[in-house]
């Protein structure tokens, strides 16, 4: 019997305490920020959209190997000896043409594992988070400066050069034999 009245009293008392709290919160300043008119400034370590400074890339593929979801695709072509690609801003000499550097940002999991192995710090995470697109293929970012045709051209050039190198290597001994036997003019190559 006593418990019955006690229950009623406790119920009413806790309801009143709850009402007092919510009434107090009516006058607390709201914490909402009116996005998109007002945007929060992200901290400096914020991990959002990736960016690659392709001029600094030496094509080492460390980021491609470090990515857990395989969202980076890189294709490189060896530079010919007579071509000078220059130096990156950190002082590394570039030896490879980076013909394809695609990042599928829709696959990226924003873990940042690709940032740490890069020797020239050319891939890093920016604070851009509003990059939605209407078409899904627009989310595959092409960072390389080569169009597919130029890339093909470069690859063919390198293949050509390597073929010439190989033929020069196999042709050298024949030439020496021809020099040692000067009496066989038809076998000159």
């Amino acid at each position: 019997m006593r418990q019955y009245f006690k229950n009623i009293f406790i119920a009413l008392w806790t309801i009143l305490i709850g009402l007092k709290l919510t009434f107090k919160h009516l006058f607390v300043r709201a914490v909402t920020i009116q996005y998109p008119d007002v945007k929060l400034k992200l901290p400096e370590r914020a991990r959002n959209r990736l960016y690659v400074n392709i001029d600094d890339c030496i094509g080492c593929r460390q980021c491609e190997m470090a990515c857990p979801v395989d969202c980076i695709t890189i294709e490189t072509v060896k530079a010919l000896p007579n071509e000078d690609l220059g130096v990156t801003s950190t002082g590394n000499k570039k030896r490879l043409w980076v013909t394809k550097f695609d990042i599928d940002i829709s696959k990226c999991c924003y873990c940042g594992l690709c940032v740490y192995p890069c020797p020239t710090e050319c891939i890093y995470m920016t604070d851009v988070y509003e990059f939605s697109e209407y078409k899904r293929h627009n989310l595959i970012y092409h960072f390389s400066n080569f169009t597919p045709e130029e890339a093909e051209l470069k690859k063919k050039q390198v293949e050509q050069f390597e073929l010439e190198q190989k033929m020069k290597k196999t042709a050298k001994p024949v030439e020496q034999v021809a020099v040692n036997n000067p009496g066989n003019p038809e076998e000159k190559s």
């Binding site: 009623i8 309801i15 709850g18 009402l19 709290l21 919510t22 009434f23 919160h25 009516l26 006058f27 607390v28 709201a30 914490v31 909402t32 009116q34």
Partner: protein
């Protein structure tokens, strides 16, 4: 001819009042909810804190398609929202908005109101049954049990006031409380009238299906209860009916306990026009209290709801009515 014109005006004015009030109270409810939760709520439509948002919502609901589920009882499905609304709208006929305006000055005013608000039960059951949906039926059955059980404490507490006032006519109940703050019914026979008011307030929360008694529309359990399958204007009717009901019970508690259209200062600021202002603001104050309770308390379970009604409210209101009756006789 003037008869019909009078009837028309008398029935249109409460309807207009309900429509305007519903638009305003929708905005107030969301804003109160937001600020209690430390956030902003409506901000854009119309400029200052989104005051035009409920109007936009109303327009959107008007243009939506009416989807009727297959295998549903089409007639009942279409009729249900209107029955629910008719139940609460018809009760506005007996509310005295001011000393000179009451749509129907019935001698059995409050009795008529109690009777006509039971119409809502039929409407809810129609809605739940005709939706052809297990969850809706659950919600409807719970709602019927709830409303029917809570009508008893409601009626008993109203009966207590009738004993004090000696009449069922709402206009006369208000007239008897004329004269300022301390003439109001809630200060008579202390503390019994206070207890009566508390019982009436809690029971009326259950009548309107508001938290903590809102299991018929329990959002986290049954999606939306008995009005899950409703779209467009029919859904808007349910919403309108709920808010109309809220003001109805608040208005009745204002009339019965707090003097109705009487000004708390006695003669100062009183008169027919001021009467409307006092009545509406008292009603809105209790509506505001109901809104605050919604955002404060968790929900009661079905059997706990029944326990509160039958084992707490009903016995206490019986004791109350006997105490007040005895006191009134011995006076």
């Amino acid at each position: 001819m003037p008869e019909i014109l009078n009837m028309l005006i008398a029935s249109v004015i409460p309807l207009l009042f309900i429509l305007v009030y519903a638009v305003v109270i929708l905005w107030v409810e969301i804003k109160v909810a937001s600020h209690v939760q430390d956030r902003l709520g409506y901000m854009y439509t119309g400029g200052f804190h989104g005051w035009a948002q409920p109007i936009a919502d109303l327009l959107k609901l008007l243009t939506k398609e009416h989807i009727t589920p297959a295998n549903s009882d089409k007639i009942l499905f279409t009729l249900a929202p209107f029955v629910v609304f008719a139940g609460s709208y018809a009760a506005y006929a007996a509310l005295p908005f001011t000393s000179t305006f009451i749509a129907a000055n019935l001698n059995v005013g409050i009795f008529y109101i109690i009777a006509i608000t039971s119409f809502v039960v039929i409407g809810i059951l129609m809605a739940g049954w005709s939706s052809n949906n297990k969850y809706s039926l659950f919600g409807a059955m719970r709602s019927v049990a709830q409303i029917v059980s809570y009508e008893i404490p409601t009626a008993l507490s109203i009966l207590t006031v009738v004993i004090v006032a000696g009449t069922l006519n709402l206009q006369e109940v208000c007239q008897m409380q004329k004269g300022g703050l301390f003439n109001w019914n809630i200060f008579k026979y202390p503390p019994f009238m206070l207890i009566t008011f508390l019982i009436y307030f809690i029971a009326s929360l259950a009548e309107v299906n508001r938290t903590p008694f809102d299991i018929p529309e329990a959002e986290s359990e049954l999606v939306a209860g008995y009005h899950t399958e409703y779209t467009g204007m029919k859904f808007a009717m349910f919403y309108l009916a709920e808010y109309a009901n809220m003001f109805l019970v608040s208005g009745i508690s204002a009339i019965l306990f707090f003097g109705g259209w009487d000004s708390p200062f006695g003669e100062f600021l009183s008169g027919p026009a001021w009467g409307v202002f006092w009545f509406v603001s008292k009603g809105l104050f209790f509506v505001f209290l109901q809104i605050m309770l919604r955002w404060t308390l968790p929900r009661l379970r079905v059997d706990q709801l029944m326990y509160v009604s039958w084992k707490v409210l009903t016995p206490i209101s019986f004791v109350n009515i006997m105490a007040v009756g005895l006191w009134a006789i011995l006076k």
